[in-house]
């Protein structure tokens, strides 16, 4: 583990202690050692199994199994629902309570949150409506264009492997 990752993990743990919540696994899934689909599997969790949520990293939730021996790891946020009286209670949708879990704590765990904002302004709807075309900036942007060769090199560098997949149908 890189020192940076360890620090992020520690921060998450600290942030997590304040928000620990009981949840239940909805789909049989793997508890992994790190928030990464390639990370080693700590345990396989069954649907219905109880867990305690202690942190977040992207689309992953840090979880601890309930019971002995307790196992710690990471699960996909889509594979868990909160149970009991936890959450902020504004539970209209299935996700709302899970989302409320990290509200406000968001910036604690994430890597180096938004801090360098001095001098950089926001963008308003009015500015979009009244904007005047800047063709020089457009041509400059177009000079940074990539091409298939560069894109392939970029993919190789991170060992990205292309896959054949069909588009998803809308929900019924």
């Amino acid at each position: 583990m890189k020192p940076g990752n360890f620090l992020a993990g520690l921060l998450l743990l600290v942030a997590g202690l304040a928000v620990a919540q009981e949840g239940r696994i909805t789909t049989a899934s793997a508890l992994r050692q790190a928030p990464d689909p390639a990370a080693a599997v700590v345990a396989y969790l069954k649907a219905g199994q109880a867990v305690t949520i202690t942190g977040r990293d992207g689309s992953w939730l840090q979880a601890r199994t309930v019971g002995e021996p307790a196992q710690k790891g990471w699960i996909r946020m889509f594979d868990v629902r909160l149970t009991g009286n936890g959450g902020a209670g504004r539970s209209a949708g299935t996700f709302s309570r899970l989302l409320d879990l990290f509200r406000g704590d968001e910036h604690k765990g994430a890597p180096g949150r938004v801090t360098s904002t001095i001098g950089i302004r926001g963008l308003t709807a009015e500015e979009l409506r009244t904007a005047r075309a800047d063709l020089r900036a457009l041509r400059q942007m177009e000079r940074f264009a990539s091409d298939p060769r560069r894109a392939l090199h970029f993919a190789d560098e991170a060992q990205l492997r292309a896959r054949r997949l069909g588009y998803l149908e809308p929900a019924p």
Binding site: K2, G58, S59, S96, L128, A133, F144, F154, L165
Partner: protein, 284 residues
């Protein structure tokens, strides 16, 4: 001729799952106008030619750049272009002149223009955890371009507000193409937002395009989680929240449609992303 039009209209009333006719009301349809359109030899679902689509998109991109400059770091701009191009190669429109840019604003948002200019803001990029999340954001915007969401919305609003038939103007070489007025309508879309259905569709396309490109398909859901957790009271998110369905409802839908249909594997790519993200923080 009237007979032919009627026959066509009757044909339209049969269920055609591939097309959504929206609020087409057959009782209010102007038959004479329909005859005119058909006699002009136009197909009912002809597309605006790609060259015009790109022309409009470049106009909108130039206006966006008039509102906010690019982050002045060529290395960062090339990084999003390489990533974006890699994603675009896994779509049905790989040959569009795809261009990607990071806008220098703390407002967290992303924009697509017709024909392939795609933008993400500094503010959004700084909130991301890894490259799979950036891939998810760019792939969502690529989805808007693939399905011509902005172009169609511009066509619709031009007809509604100005009585302009963009398609026929785009098809007829000699008549002028009112680029300035259409660009104005396009910019209004960024201020007001697309139809919610277009956003949900771009989400469905985005997760698949990212997954096809080798990324963890859960990048976009991760970003939506971040937005939901930050909440609408964050002033840097106000524009995004006012122009998109709530991140909660987007996540609800993605969780339903993704379940069991996408691989659980894929790259998240943290180290490369962290390197570039750090350059943004240092204020390059």
């Amino acid at each position: 001729m009237r007979g032919l039009v009627l026959a066509l209209l009757i044909g339209l009333t049969q269920p055609v799952p591939a097309f959504d006719f929206g609020e087409l009301d057959l009782r209010k349809l102007d038959l004479d106008k329909a005859v005119k359109l058909i006699s002009k030899g136009k197909e009912a679902f002809a597309e605006v030619p790609q060259a015009r689509e790109i022309e409009l998109g470049r106009g909108m991109a130039a206006s966006l750049l008039g509102a906010v400059p690019l982050v002045p770091d060529p290395g960062l701009q090339r990084y999003v272009n390489d990533l974006g191009h890699w994603l675009a190669l896994h779509t049905e429109r790989p040959g569009l002149p795809w261009r990607f840019g990071i806008l220098d604003t703390m407002t967290a948002n992303a924009f697509a223009t017709p024909g392939g200019h795609v933008f993400v803001t500094r503010g959004l990029l700084l909130r991301l955890w890894n490259e799979a999340e950036l891939a998810g954001v760019l792939a969502h915007e690529i989805g808007h371009v693939l399905r011509r969401h902005h172009l169609r919305a511009v066509q619709h609003r031009a007809r509604l507000e100005l009585g302009m038939d963009v398609l026929s103007m785009a098809l007829e070489e000699r008549s002028g193409f009112p680029l300035d007025r259409l660009t104005g309508i396009g910019m209004e879309l960024y201020a007001r937002g697309l139809d919610k259905g277009d956003e949900y569709e771009a989400d469905r396309l985005g997760v698949v395009i990212a997954a096809r490109s080798g990324y963890d398909p859960y990048g976009l859901p991760g970003v939506l989680y971040t937005l939901a957790a930050s909440g609408a009271q964050d002033s840097d998110l106000a524009l995004m929240f006012s122009t998109h369905p709530s991140p909660q409802s987007r996540l609800e839908r993605l969780s339903v449609v993704m379940a069991g249909h996408l691989p659980e594997t894929g790259a998240t790519v943290r180290s490369r992303f962290d390197r570039y993200r750090a350059r943004l923080e240092e204020g390059h």
